[in-house]
């Protein structure tokens, strides 16, 4: 039987994103109280007013990095944490804000949003100078990735509780299709409808296909994904190559970018 000498110190940090992953932790209902008692939560902006950050054993980091200030803070987190967990699709792969990375240059995008000068207004200076959105792994070493938009408690809890118990979580990537077949669902791709299940990381219990909605890939990329074959399949059911790639990019972030370049 395992035992713990002391409760590990945990910090929950948020960068650019909808904060849905932090909210998902608070929304675990029966388990929420246990989250605050099973570890020593020293930093959790969304849930606590009193914040201390001397050193944490485990840092749960949500969101993508979009400003210079965030980048500096992220590096500080890496310095003070033993284990860094990327929480949610934004932190893992860049999220939706990564879209457009290859469509226009960053400068063009800034001009599109903020006018000819392409500069952010002064009052926004407090968040720091903007940068193109990137997943946290672009800048620091990430120990564990828990994707999701938002993360699901069923997927998050077993990984997190192993970490706070001093155990190594099992790394076993599988696509949404596995969970979809656990539910005994039919396959959209066989009926001429698109679905990104075969290239998307599982962890959601195939909730959308089980509700008769195609998978849009919100849990990010699946490690064993076969993109050329997937694109062919999507073309076969009537999408153009451009449409297929656009669908893959929605949540695929930097991983799709690398895969399509053949990295």
């Amino acid at each position: 039987m395992w035992k713990r000498d002391k409760k590990p110190v945990v910090g929950v940090f948020g960068f650019s994103g909808c904060a849905g992953d932090q909210l998902a932790i608070l929304h675990m209902e029966d388990s929420t109280i246990d989250f605050f008692t099973s570890a020593d939560i020293k930093f959790f902006h969304m849930a606590q007013s009193h914040q201390e950050v001397p050193k944490v054993d485990i840092a749960l980091v949500e969101g993508s990095i979009n400003t210079e200030r965030q980048l500096k803070e992220l590096k500080e987190i890496r310095e003070m944490a033993d284990v860094v967990v990327a929480l949610g699709t934004c932190a893992c792969y860049g999220g939706i804000q990564y879209l457009g990375e290859d469509v226009k240059t960053f400068k063009e995008r800034m001009k599109y949003v903020y006018g000819e000068s392409g500069e952010v207004p002064e009052f926004l200076d407090l968040v720091g100078k903007p940068r193109p959105a990137q997943p946290i792994s672009e800048y620091i070493d990430v120990d564990i990735m828990i994707p999701g938009c938002p993360i699901s408690a069923e997927n998050f809890v077993p990984i997190y509780t192993k970490l706070i118990s001093g155990l190594l979580p099992q790394k076993y990537p599988m696509p949404v299709c596995v969970e979809c077949k656990y539910e005994g669902n039919d396959c959209f791709l066989l009926h001429g409808k698109y679905c990104l299940g075969p290239v998307t990381s599982a962890g959601c219990n195939a909730i959308c296909p089980s509700m008769d909605i195609s998978c849009v890939g919100c849990f990010g990329t699946y490690e064993g994904a076969n993109y050329p074959s997937m694109i062919n399949k999507l073309k076969e059911i009537g999408l153009t190559e451009e449409e297929a790639i656009r669908k893959l990019k929605l949540f695929g972030g930097n991983k799709i970018e690398q895969a399509l370049k053949g990295d």
């Binding site: 388990s31 299709c177 656990y182 005994g184 669902n185 290239v199 994904a225 074959s229």
Partner: protein, 347 residues
């Protein structure tokens, strides 16, 4: 064992009777698919089906289940499932699949989780007519002599009720008011005519299983595997829907309070990336090609070597559900194509 006749009008009463013996499951149409679901009304049953997405393995090795719970004091096995499940409408291929699972899980080393579920499962088979994806005639699993408790053959006005076990016999005794033993010459003629009609309906014939094991050995280094590997999505669908695939993964899950948890078994697939990874991060099958080759050599060659019969029962699920058409039919056709161009050798 004994065979009875049951007129079709007695069927609703038969179902009502069966329902008193346990929780009844049967084929139910759900939009574009069929599934074995709990039956409350006899009208929900739809025997005019080809295949469910998941076979009877969903009752015997469910996709995900807890095998034990643990806390700081110790562990507790979760084995007993005292509830009796009855599944009606099972086709011969799926009964053969259960026989294969029985051989694996109830052999020298009995799997206690499977054993308790198997013991509490009553199987009532039902005759079927094939579609173009049914390969059971080729795999020799289109007829079934055992492995069921009762088997219903649907003829024009009545069912022939075949008894396959003591459990089934007990059911027929309970249902004796609904059954007759009046098997006449005409009954036999009708049955034979039905069998002949069914046999002639098989449209898809697989290359001969007589030399399948040899053909796979000869093709071991064939480029065919690369071609399929390039196409394969590594999605695991083929093995999850296969009624004989039974590989599972085990993980211990700790609850949020970090003081208790459970051990979970979940169906796995050899087409997934880390299936063959061992300690030290050594992976014997890092690419899709070798993983697919493992799937098919195991199913179509190793099974034959070990049990004298392939691990495929010809249910046609992989033929139906693989999104990129990699299945026992396309793979075996490609393998035979490599070594023989003439049809006579293949048939």
């Amino acid at each position: 064992m004994k065979t009875y006749k049951m007129v079709k009008s007695a069927f609703p009463d038969f179902i009502e009777l069966i329902k008193t013996k346990g929780k009844l499951f049967g084929p139910v149409k759900q939009k574009s698919k069929y599934s074995f679901e709990e039956i409350s009304d006899v009208k929900d049953l739809d025997f005019d089906y080809q295949r469910t997405v998941l076979g009877v393995k969903k009752f015997l090795t469910p996709p995900k289940y807890k095998t034990l719970t643990f806390n700081k004091e110790g562990t507790k096995d979760i084995i007993d499932e005292p509830e009796t499940n009855i599944v009606i409408g099972v086709h011969p291929c799926d009964i053969h699949a259960v026989k294969i699972l029985d051989r694996l899980f109830l052999g020298n080393i009995k799997d206690p989780y499977y054993a308790s579920r198997r013991e509490n499962l009553t199987i009532i088979g039902h005759s079927c007519l094939p579609d173009d994806k049914c390969l059971c005639q080729s795999t020799g699993t289109d007829m079934v002599e055992d492995g069921f408790d009762l088997f219903l053959t649907e003829l024009d006005d009545y069912y022939l009720v075949w008894v396959g076990s003591d459990k089934g016999l007990a059911l027929t005794i309970a249902a004796s008011d609904l059954l007759s033993e009046d098997i006449s010459d005409e009954t036999i003629r009708e049955y034979v005519r039905w069998q002949q009609k069914r046999s002639s309906m098989f449209k898809t014939v697989m290359p001969s299983f007589k030399y399948m094991a040899d053909i796979i050995t000869l093709n071991y280094d064939s480029e065919i595997w690369e071609q399929f590997g390039e196409k394969c999505l590594s999605c695991g669908t083929c093995s999850l829907v296969c009624p004989t695939c039974n590989c599972f993964n085990v993980d211990d899950k700790i609850l949020m309070n970090a003081e208790e948890g459970f051990r979970e078994r979940m169906l796995d697939s050899c087409t997934l990336p880390y299936y063959s990874m061992v300690a030290g991060d050594h992976d014997f099958r890092p690419d899709r090609t070798t993983r697919l080759k493992l799937y098919y050599t195991h199913k179509l060659k190793e099974y034959i070597g070990r049990w004298g019969q392939p691990g495929c029962v010809g249910c046609g699920r992989c033929v139906t559900y693989c999104p990129v058409d990699i299945n026992v039919l396309t793979v075996s056709e490609a393998l035979f194509g490599e070594v023989c161009e003439t049809k006579e050798v293949c048939e």
